[in-house]
């Protein structure tokens, strides 16, 4: 059981860390949810390389959820660290866009309000909770997509082997 957990956790940590970092870096983070899905796909790929057993879509969902949680934690930490840098970047953007202020749609200036860059503990915890839930769902989706891309075909019986009738037993639908 512990070995199974390690098999799942390591790829999830790697995929989640990469997805979290990319989601937290300014400019690059505009790809948003696709990084989380991509991270989960990566985690599934790594898992498929470490185990010889065929993986199911259920395995993809589980590893995807873990990847999403890791990504949420990493992104939140990165957001706290990079908030001063983000503030500076957006202020410079604001100065550039001010030349075109009359052409910009209403509500534009609210995007750069000071409150957007506050790092209070309740705000951080709220963002972590929301990110955790949303990234878990996105991660599950990415993990399932990854399984469809990287799943191994079940081993074929060797040619010439006698056909042994399958014991169907009781099947539940």
């Amino acid at each position: 059981m512990n070995e199974q957990k390690t098999l799942v956790l390591t790829p999830a940590l790697i995929g989640g860390a990469i997805a979290g970092v990319l989601s937290g870096i300014p400019i690059v983070s505009c790809m948003c949810c696709l990084w989380i899905i991509g991270g989960a796909i990566l985690a599934t790929y790594l898992l498929s390389k470490t185990t010889s057993a065929p993986l199911t879509s259920s395995d993809g969902a589980i590893i995807g959820v873990f990847t999403g949680i890791v990504a949420a934690v990493v992104k939140t930490i990165l957001d706290v660290i990079l908030t001063p840098l983000n503030r500076e970047i957006y202020q410079r953007l604001m100065e550039r866009f001010a030349e075109y202020m009359q052409e910009m749609p209403p509500g534009f200036e609210d995007m750069f309000s000071e409150s957007s860059f506050e790092t209070t503990v309740p705000k951080i915890l709220f963002e972590l909770l929301i990110s955790g839930i949303i990234f878990s769902a996105l991660g599950a989706l990415g993990g399932i997509i990854g399984i469809s891309l990287f799943k191994k075909k079940p081993p074929q019986p060797p040619q010439g082997a006698p056909n042994v009738p399958e014991n169907t037993g009781n099947r539940q639908s």
Partner: protein
């Protein structure tokens, strides 16, 4: 029979979640138009997964929606895919779509996204919405299949464990 009931449960829970999600997207600008402080939370919920740039978003009640045009397309596509899923799969099939289906549905989104990101072109809102919608259409076929598979496997393991005990 149990498979079908599990798939149906996952399907309807996902449908309820999708409708709630879309509702929140449209609720945000409404709350802002009413000067309600709750609009901050509404926009904050979508902040981790969308850049929310007003120039890339549709507007309602004079304020941008909580997500950009592409994300809105993905979520509406997901809703459309839910309808397609019920029609095509009828809650009984638990196999994932083919890789080429995924590539076909994803390519327009990736191409358009890359083109805009590297400033090769700038697409209008409706094309972003459309590329997102196309991709969103296939996502329920993965999500519902995978999550249902998780619960079906869990039920199977429980049944096997109780069989071994007895």
């Amino acid at each position: 029979m149990k498979t079908k009931s599990r798939v149906r449960l996952v399907y309807f829970l996902t449908l309820a979640g999708t409708l709630l999600w879309l509702g929140l997207i449209f609720l945000a600008p409404y709350l802002k138009s009413r000067d309600s402080g709750l609009n901050i939370f509404a926009y904050l919920i979508f902040a981790p997964i969308c850049h929310q740039i007003p120039a890339r978003s549709f507007f309602l009640f004079g304020h941008p929606l909580a997500v950009c045009g592409r994300c809105l397309g993905i979520y509406f596509g997901f809703l459309g895919g839910m309808g397609l899923y019920a029609f095509r799969r009828r809650f009984s099939v638990t196999t994932l779509p083919r890789i080429r289906t995924f590539i076909l549905a994803t390519s327009p989104l990736v191409l358009d996204g890359m083109g805009n990101f590297f400033h090769l072109w700038s697409t209008p809102h409706w094309i972003r919405f459309l590329t997102g919608f196309l991709w969103g259409l296939i996502l329920p076929f993965y999500f519902i299949t995978g999550v249902s598979d998780f619960f079906i496997n869990r039920d199977r393991e429980k049944a096997e464990r109780s069989k071994n005990i007895s």
